[in-house]
Symmetry: C2
Subunit: 304 residues, 2 copies
């Protein structure tokens, strides 16, 4: 048998994954789960791809502000835009959620759906991670790609359930993760249907619709998927409630936390400006969740 998870070292984490899949696929066993109910949900930032020093989508926002600045001379004197244009991200984000929303709406709304998708694709084609100089879509974790493929080979349906913007992820999630658009769940802004010269169009509006984080994740899972996952994968307290929900069903389940412990090959942090891993670590042993130590559990992090 070929090892389905070659980038995973033998150990508790890999063993727990293999055991879980064996359990739920063993026909005539009490732990068997029919294929249709094999739902697996994955956080994205920090779980499937790198989130350090900032979310990929945050780099997108700041790049877009700079690109759009010539059309917005008023931004030179208007916060949080002025700080972004001076390169002072910390000052830009000092305005808290309101500042962040202003930046998101200025870059994510006011165009059609098709236009936004083209903007994301064009940005991804040239943008580079500041430390590695690699495209963001190459900063994905090879062990997690193997895990996604392994679960699908065992008739799991794999979903992204991310705090990131759903339409920011959809243009590349299928090519990079093998996850089609209809299995990408994320945060969203309002949209509107319009006939423009008789042509149907979806227009993106500058208003938050749904924030897919923390307690929003199980709500979204029920709302979009309609059944409880039997496996969930996250890396921060933003995934706590998703992990609770996925592992509280009657049958076999798997909760897994990716812990960033490798400062040489990736980054070492539990808490960062992007989020904190604290309560989920406390609950992990109580609820039987697997904690992946990237440094020891993964023999490869990126596909070099």
């Amino acid at each position: 048998m070929t090892d389905p998870l070659p980038s995973w070292n033998d150990g508790l984490a890999k063993g727990a994954i293999l055991d879980f899949v064996a359990q739920v696929t063993a026909e005539h066993s009490s732990t068997f789960v029919p294929p249709g109910d094999r739902i697996a949900t994955f956080d994205n930032d920090g779980t499937l791809w790198c989130e350090h020093p900032m979310y990929g989508q945050a780099f997108f926002v700041f790049d877009r502000i700079r690109t759009l600045a010539p059309q917005h001379p008023e931004w030179q004197a208007q916060e949080p835009f002025a700080s972004v244009l001076r390169g002072d991200i910390k000052a830009a984000l000092a305005g808290g959620e309101q500042a962040l929303m202003a930046l998101v709406m200025a870059t994510h709304a006011g165009m059609t759906h098709d236009e936004f998708t083209a903007i994301v694709q064009a940005w991804l084609a040239t943008a580079k991670h500041p430390q590695t100089q690699r495209p963001f879509t190459e900063m994905v974790y090879q062990p997690m790609l193997e895990l996604l493929a392994y679960l699908r080979a065992n008739d799991f349906k794999t979903f992204i359930v991310s705090g990131g913007g759903v339409e920011f992820m959809r243009p590349w999630a299928e090519q990079v993760y093998g996850i089609p658009p209809e299995q990408v769940i994320g945060s969203s802004i309002k949209t509107q249907f319009e006939l423009r010269d008789g042509q149907p169009t979806i227009v993106r509006l500058p208003e938050l619709y749904f924030f897919d984080d923390k307690a929003g994740k199980p709500v979204a899972i029920q709302h979009y998927i309609g059944r409880r996952p039997i496996a969930a994968f996250g890396n921060s307290d933003g995934d706590l409630q998703m992990l609770q929900w996925a592992t509280a069903g009657a049958g076999a389940s798997l909760g897994l936390i990716v812990r960033h412990t490798d400062g040489d090959r990736e980054f070492a942090y539990d808490t960062s400006p992007m989020g904190r891993l604290e309560q989920a670590l406390v609950e992990a042993p109580q609820r039987g969740w697997v904690v992946v130590d990237m440094k020891t559990d993964w023999n490869r992090i990126f596909n070099d």
Copy 2:
């Protein structure tokens, strides 16, 4: 070759369906569509199952009001509940949208997700259509079941996009239509995640979240599915914008309207208290949509 659509008479409608599927599945042709993009969206009420004289979900609401009445003595003097309890549905609905919402919230909110699903299942197991005395889930159109199966056999992914409540449809859509919960899109109320004695729970709240009708349908399609359907099926002006959206893409597409023309075997109406078919009929020839005449196009309506 076995006829994949035996309940459809030979004619324009059946021919259009067969031609469309042949076009998009013909490899190396200019009209070929890769399997992943073969998205088909179906309205439910009046398109997949009977909506006359009222939506199945409306019968559910009124039955539930009667069932819950002993716990709500105040309803005897409170509209719209008092009218429902007197059996005067017309008077109950005279209060318009506000009355309808009061009835929906009294019957759809205030319980957990699991409790609501059990309530729907118990109701479906005993409720009967008033004219046919058949269970509502047997009031589904046999030609449409064949169409769903035919499309799936040709690698289409079939979705419901209905104005009905998503959690009212999910408990039975897979068994009746072969459509799994994650491919059911509908109207919804707000929900909330709670830990109750440490047990994760989804609670249904008495507040509308999304109304999936008219211009809401293409918005929902983009929001939940993330790509434009190439086939859409409806029966009223509530489906107009979905049909516009699905058939305005660059490649081959199919828009189809089920027209209720058979007063003997089903019901004959374009406009009813449940909705109107008017503008969609006007646009059908302009936009190349197929109009199914139930009386002449279908040799069987229900599976008897």
